[in-house]
Amino acid sequence: MRTRTCWNSVCTVDDLVPESGIAVWTVDGPVAVFYLPHRLPALFAISHADPFSGANVLARGITGDLGGEPIVASPLYKQHFNLKTGACLEDESVRVKTYSVLLDGNRILLETRETHQEAVAA
């Protein structure tokens, strides 16, 4: 069965930090949202949890590009994660979850699994 998803507003444009990340709380737990104004698309979202340490810190890493791909470096042990795919550049077996993210007017929308009342009832 396909998981049902929905789009949730998580923050506004003013909350974003250019060339860097912020963290938001979602039904899936902590998610890191990155704003890279010199790229198109400019928004990326991946899990905030660093798979190597377990700590919620990825939004606080340095962003940039390696071989043209957008990346963030974990602030703890410096592994690099592809912001498009979530793949870890240092360890093929590790991948962080990615999320679809959209700009709607002034709001930032994130696609997460649905948590409607009826979903619980069903």
């Binding site: 930090v17 912020i22 890279l36 919620n56 810190v57 940039g64 990346i71 470096a73 602030p75």
Partner: protein
């Protein structure tokens, strides 16, 4: 022609090395090769045997793999001792069968000598040779409290360390009046004993054991000839080795009076088809109990079997360098000065525990031998002088004097002749390294793979690197100094571009001089350069995304994503009121509190959103940021100085505060530490800092480029008896020169070692203004001092900057569920399961 058969008896380090050499030679296809080993494991590195107790496994220590033997077509017979030789038939016999040979190599090694003491067969008496021995010692130690090693030689002290690591009270019992009697003299032995006893190992010299009997308070009791005794739970015999020559003896080969299979220069025994190498072989009445000579014999024999008639073993250098229980010990050549007319130069500093002795020839021109205890950094240079007969300088004592007393610089790689041996384990000379480079090796790893240099004991690693670097440089091989894929420049180049072109943002720099969007290498480097040049707030909008993990939030991230806070406490001087504020804040936010090595207080466990709130409190109490998070000045440590101390000759605290306030906030390629001591007793440990100041009757002595940490380096004396003003001017210049010219993440110590001309060059630049830049350096420094701001003060007052300090921007009250806590020794600490 049918193949001949070559059999090697003994699968130890030397036997394995011989096989490696032989299978690579042109004669190998003519032979079927069989290798017999008595132990159940494949050859392993016995030199590093003790690492087995530290967690290494047989696989870690193994010299090769069974797959390698299969690939080489070598038939491997492990756990199959050879019981007899039949030389007439050219066969050997094992419990499993009889095998024919055409050529036989004996690499049977040695066995530990156990003195004929009554009671030595007791089950808790051991030797220290094989992995099985070590397993048995470990099992016995489980129930024991103490252990004795009989024999205070090299291996005995290794064994004592092993017993210590197993949690036993270790004792060393030595028959001679001192430790390591072969390698050390009386003074060296006494110093080594002192150092080892400080580590809790008890040393008993001039003790002859007469009997081992049941103990009253421990398993065993050792009775000594002087009627004293010692109780212990286990005993390890390490009283020397004896060559394993039983097979040779039984089959009628010539053996020495005191054991050992007699061989000639070709490593051949009295039977022309039987050869012996390693510790079982007796050459020129000598047994060589080290691995390097065994390897040399193995190489010689491989050449002999390839019909190279001129191959010959001509003896071996028995110099050794090692770390015993953490103490450096080195012994070179004629260490005891037995050459007629030999003269001695000794340096003995009981204060620091350093002893060095040089044995020089009668005419003072050549180095015959040396002894080192406490500091082996002198070893490589001395060994090169001794081995290559390099003429000693006019003041040979400089070779063993501490550098601060005018010691000679290390012998540069250019001064070594082509024949100089760089790696004695694999007999690699400087000439071999040059050949490898000329044949295409273009870096250190390539040279190591081609020559095997530095793959034995590893003692020559630093020397090898300096030779390789030097040779590559001479051949014009440019090592890429590009910072990363975004900038084809070194840090120094980027500094110039930023400074000269007045560039004030990363975006401008990368669009004009780089490509792409940057990464976690170049962004912090540029952030640091921009801060040094223009001193704008590091959290200005343009600069935020450049900052390294800790700079971004001006605190030190810990493993669970919380932060630690270190307020500045200049010179370590703090009022009781301020101390109370730290205590109150820590208590209110439940921060784990620890005193740092730099005379400050570290408060751990603050969440991101707590940081600005805590800092408001601290700033109100008069604290400033301590930059513990930055590549910048950390602390200026000080002793209490002349205001209180009865020995102090200057106000060291006052000077430390002055320096800390002057250089705080300056961004540098790496962290910078300073210290000020009020007299020569040096209680502030200034000589281990990037900048160390020591008071004299007449002013201040300045030491530069010291380092604690992973690779400690004593700072070098740079200038003496400076006035306050001259001291600050000199530090200004050195600091700025470092900030402008060092590589990314290069501490001052490495920076100076890599400056062409080193300390002398730096003195010319800074003290004599040889580049004519001193005025500019001072002006730059003054500009930075004048524009200092407490980054935290600016940040808490700016709502825009404060916005960043939110865990989850959409849910301010949400706590991070990963951050879990427990209590230990009365304080909170994180619990974090690694995922």
């Amino acid at each position: 022609m049918s193949k001949k058969t070559l059999i090697v008896i003994g699968n130890g380090m030397v036997g394995h090395h011989f096989l490696e050499q032989f299978v690579a030679s042109s004669a190998a296809p003519d032979y079927d090769i069989l290798a017999f080993g008595e132990e159940k494991q494949l050859a392993y590195d016995r030199v590093h045997l003790s690492e087995y107790f530290a967690g290494s496994t047989h696989a870690d220590l193994a010299m090769g793999t069974e797959d390698w033997y299969t690939e080489q077509g070598i038939e491997l017979h492990l756990n199959e001792p050879v019981t007899a030789l039949n030389r007439d038939q050219r066969t050997l016999i094992t419990p499993k069968g009889e095998y024919h040979y055409d050529e036989l190599v004996l690499a049977t090694g040695s066995f530990p000598f156990v003195p004929p003491i009554e009671g030595r067969e007791h089950p808790h008496c051991f030797v220290y040779r094989t992995l099985d021995d070590l397993d048995a010692i470990r099992a016995s130690a489980k129930e024991g409290k103490s252990g004795v090693v009989v024999g205070g030689g090299l291996l005995g002290l290794e064994a004592a360390n092993a017993l210590r690591s197993l949690g036993l009270q270790a004792h060393v019992v030595e028959f001679a009046p001192r430790l390591m009697p072969v390698q050390l003299d009386a003074d060296g032995g006494a110093l080594l004993r002192h150092k080892i006893e400080e580590l809790g190992v008890q040393v008993h010299t001039e003790k002859a054991t007469t009997a081992i009997v049941a103990g009253e308070n421990a398993r065993l009791r050792m009775n000594f000839s002087d009627d004293s005794h010692l109780e212990t739970d286990l005993i390890v015999f390490s009283a020397g080795i004896r060559p394993q020559d039983a097979l040779a003896r039984a089959s009628g080969l010539n053996v020495g009076e005191r054991g050992g299979i007699v061989v000639n220069d070709q490593c051949t025994t009295s039977d022309p088809h039987i050869h012996a190498i390693g510790e079982c072989a007796l050459w020129d009445q000598r047994i060589f109990g080290l691995v390097a000579p065994g390897y040399t014999m193995a190489r010689t024999l491989a050449s002999v079997l390839n019909s190279h008639s001129d191959a010959a073993f001509t003896g071996a250098d028995m110099s050794t360098k090692l770390k015993l229980l953490g103490v450096d010990v080195g012994s070179i050549g004629d260490a005891h000065g037995q050459t007629p007319g030999a003269r001695n130069i000794r340096f003995n500093d009981e204060q620091t525990g350093h002893y060095r002795r040089m044995v020089v020839s009668e005419d003072g021109k050549t180095l015959l031998g040396a002894i080192l205890v406490g500091d082996n950094s002198y070893y490589d240079t001395l060994l090169q002088y001794a081995l290559n007969g390099i003429a000693l300088p006019d003041n040979p004592e400089a070779l063993i004097l501490p550098e601060s007393q005018g010691g000679a610089p290390a012998l540069g790689p250019d001064a070594l002749p082509e024949t100089a041996s760089i790696c004695s384990c694999h007999n690699v000379t400087k000439g071999d390294i040059c050949c490898a480079i000329d044949a295409g090796s273009s870096d250190l790893a390539g040279v190591k793979a081609d020559t095997k240099a530095s793959t034995g004991c590893g003692g020559c690693t630093a020397l090898l690197k300096s030779v390789v670097d030097n040779e590559l440089e001479k051949r014009g091989v440019a090592v890429s100094k590009d910072l990363c894929e975004h900038f084809p420049y070194s840090r120094q180049d980027l500094f110039h571009l930023v400074k000269v072109n007045g560039i004030r943002s990363f975006r401008t720099l990368i669009s004009q001089h780089g490509k792409g969007h940057g990464c976690d290498i170049c962004k912090p480097v540029v952030g640091s350069i921009l801060a040094t040049c223009w001193n704008e707030h590091i959290l200005a909008t343009d600069h935020v995304p450049l900052q390294d993990t800790n700079d971004t939030f001006m605190a030190n991230m810990q493993k669970n994503g919380t932060y630690s806070i270190v307020p500045r406490i200049p010179g370590g001087e703090i009022t009781p009121d301020k101390l109370i504020v730290l205590g109150e804040v820590a208590k209110e936010y439940d921060l784990y509190t620890k005193i740092t090595g730099g005379q400050r207080v570290d408060l751990f466990g603050a969440t991101l959103s707590e940081l600005p709130v805590i800092w408001e409190r601290l700033i109100a109490a008069g604290f400033e940021t301590g930059h513990a998070y930055g590549k910048s000045l950390r602390t200026v440590k000080s002793c209490v100085g002349s205001t209180w101390c009865r020995y102090g000759v200057q106000d060291s605290v006052g000077m430390a505060i002055l320096l800390e306030n002057r250089y705080k906030g300056l961004r540098a390629p790496h962290k910078v530490k300073m210290a000020v001591s009020g007299c020569t007793r040096e209680c502030a440990e200034a000589q281990s800092k990037d900048f160390g100041v020591i008071a004299t009757e007449n002013g201040w002595n300045l030491y530069v480029c010291g380092n604690g940490g992973m690779r400690p380096r004593h700072a070098d004396l740079f200038a003496t008896d400076l006035s306050d003003e001259a001291l600050i001017r000199t530090i200004d210049r050195v600091v700025m020169f470092y900030v402008r010219t060092a590589d990314r993440l290069q501490r001052t110590s490495v920076w100076m070692e890599n400056l062409e001309g080193g300390l002398e060059y730096l003195k010319h630049v800074v003290l004599e203004d040889s580049l004519g830049i001193c005025a500019e350096l001072e002006e730059h420094m003054n500009g930075i001092v004048d524009t200092y701001q407490c980054e935290w003060k600016t940040a808490v007052e700016d709502p825009g900057k404060r916005k960043r300090f939110r865990e989850f921007v959409n849910l301010p009250e949400q706590r991070d569920p990963v951050q879990q806590w427990t209590t230990e020794r009365g304080q909170r600490r994180p619990v974090l399961e690694s995922v």
